[in-house]
């Protein structure tokens, strides 16, 4: 019988080296920017780089063959994390941004002048700029779904935004600013009504447990390893077989070819077609190790834990004078990402002081979401974002730090 999974909070925190090494209060609430690396990922990375390092898809000596086999097994791990049986639908990338760029480049040939790409006002710049680059090349038009005052997608007028010209709908799964979860089912139906492709940025969803990719309705799904407690430098673009097969590669060179002559190059089939050059092998193996470990955790307990912390956070924030929550004030349809601003205090002052006073790591800024900041008539917000290793001490330290900050600066 396998041992019971670690309980969320302090028990789970023991699996993360950074918390064991922390010498002073360290309340890490910047998980939406990057998660801390777990033991399993750190060990996989170190093992590969110090004991098993060889390039993949090339050499025939034993070490190289073992590296290639491990890389292939990592693809199977990531497919399992997505509830997918076809591992070749998993493309390894350098991160979610690269994955979305591959998607935008690959879908370009479906776009002509006047065709429409529907984005949302919640998007991270990584799910805006690649589409703008593609739209400019193809003469296509960008539109955006608005958000409500609660920081959720406003789908009331979706039927007006989705037209016969809509070829692509690209959306975040979970907002990195408001924590709101997108109603992907609704967008899937809207896409189906006009034959559009649904692209989902899952960067904020991937750290919160295995994903049922079929249930998301996505045609393409992107996420990065570093947010799901693995190393920086790796990520995944998952795509439906027939879509990936139709894509032109974004980068050329290395093992992404079938045959090269000076007259013409033919490309390898997916996923290798999109993996030009030496891939981030160690980071990919670390990501797979993290995914395998995450799959053993009790995600029902973690979800309850994180929601309890979110409630405590929202309650605490609402006691502070001049504080405005930018996002849902309730617990329904959200993850533990909470943005806020405070009258007359800049987000960077909030972040600097909460770190200085209580050792709280918060993020302040536009969160690579300038259109959303514009929507809420602000330049920057402060943001607390939760992971399974956070506990009530982290929330209480934040509220104490904010209380002191407000007293100091107003």
């Amino acid at each position: 019988m396998s041992p019971a999974p670690p309980r969320p909070g302090k028990d789970l925190r023991r699996h993360f080296p950074i918390f064991r090494h922390a010498r002073e209060p360290f309340h890490f609430l910047d998980n939406a920017a990057t998660g801390q690396i777990c033991d399993e990922a750190a060990q996989a990375l170190l093992h590969f780089e110090t004991r098993a390092r060889a390039n993949v898809k090339r050499g025939v000596y034993r070490l190289a063959d073992q590296a290639t086999a491990a890389f292939d097994a990592a693809r199977a791990s990531m497919a399992r994390y997505l509830g997918e049986t076809e591992k070749n639908n998993v493309v390894f990338t350098s991160g979610a941004t690269a994955a979305l760029n591959i998607a935008a480049h690959g879908l370009a040939r479906r776009l002509g002048p006047g065709d429409e790409i529907l984005l949302t006002t919640l998007e991270h710049h990584s799910n805006i700029v690649p589409w703008q680059l593609t739209a400019e090349r193809q003469g296509a038009v960008i539109k955006a779904i608005p958000v409500t005052d609660e920081g959720r997608l406003d789908l009331d007028h979706l039927d007006r935004l989705v037209t016969n010209e809509t070829r692509i709908i690209a959306t975040t799964h979970v907002s990195n600013v408001t924590g709101a979860v997108t109603d992907l089912g609704r967008l899937r139906r809207a896409a189906d009504a006009v034959g559009a492709v649904l692209v989902v940025d899952g960067a904020q969803r991937a750290p919160h447990g295995p994903i049922d990719i079929a249930a998301t309705g996505a045609d393409l799904y992107a996420f990065s390893a570093h947010k799901m407690f693995a190393a920086t430098g790796a990520g995944v673009l998952w795509g439906k077989t027939e879509l990936l097969a139709d894509f032109e590669p974004l980068l050329g060179g290395g093992e992404m070819i079938r045959q090269v002559t000076f007259e013409k190059t033919t490309f390898a089939p997916p996923p290798h077609r999109f993996e030009a050059g030496t891939p981030p092998i160690g980071a990919v193996l670390a990501m797979a190790a993290a995914a395998d470990w995450l799959a053993t955790l009790d995600w029902r307990a973690i979800a309850e834990h994180e929601l309890g912390l979110t409630a405590r956070l929202l309650d605490g924030l609402q006691t502070l004078p001049g504080l405005r929550i930018v996002g849902p004030s309730g617990l329904q349809g959200r993850f533990g990402v909470v943005s806020f601003d405070i009258d007359d205090i800049h987000a960077h002052d909030i972040c600097q002081l909460t770190d200085q006073l209580e050792g709280v790591a918060l993020r302040g800024g536009h969160h690579c979401c300038q259109p959303l900041m514009h929507r809420f008539a602000t330049d920057a917000t402060a943001r607390a974002s939760l992971a399974p290793y956070n506990d009530t001490d982290d929330i209480d330290a934040l509220i104490r730090g904010l209380d002191q900050t407000i007293r100091m600066l107003t």
Binding site: D355, G365, D379
Partner: protein, 148 residues
């Protein structure tokens, strides 16, 4: 905990509104942005005989940005236009530890910022705006002389 970055002098300077606002009919206006956080400083200035006779700043940003803009605005009045570019370089050199001396004594309150690399730009964007505004006055005057 980290060493205190926000000393009382910085907090005080950040609240100083003495030279905050716009100047009517400025000889030059320049704006500098910090793309990382969206902070923005706009400086209006008037000049005569190669010296800054009046200036005002409009600052949207954090306490450090506001404090640096306020301190610079107080210091720069009456100084030669030609020193603005040197002030900009001296501020950066001071923050980066290349120089132990602040560009003017009042800026020594920013000493704790030296060790926080990510906040250097908060201090320097006011200096960037002033240097650009001064350069634009000088360029306009030189242009006018050339036309005579």
């Amino acid at each position: 905990m980290t060493q205190s970055l926000y000393n009382e002098a910085i907090i005080e300077a950040g609240k100083d509104k003495t030279r905050a606002g716009r100047l009517p009919n400025p000889d030059a206006t320049a704006t500098a942005d910090n793309p990382l956080c969206g902070d923005r400083v706009t400086i209006d200035l008037r000049a005569e005989n190669g010296a800054i006779t009046d200036l005002a700043h409009t600052t949207r940003g954090c306490l450090l940005t506001k404090a640096a803009a306020a301190l610079l605005a107080s210091h720069a009045r009456g100084r030669p236009l030609a020193t603005a570019r040197a002030l900009q370089a001296a501020a950066r050199a001071y923050l980066e530890g290349e120089s132990n001396d602040p560009p003017f004594p009042e800026l020594a309150v920013m000493a704790p910022v030296k060790t926080v690399k990510s906040r250097h730009d908060c201090v320097t964007i006011a200096f960037d705006a002033l240097a650009d505004a001064a350069a634009s006055v000088r360029a306009a005057k030189e242009g006018a002389q050339g036309e005579e």
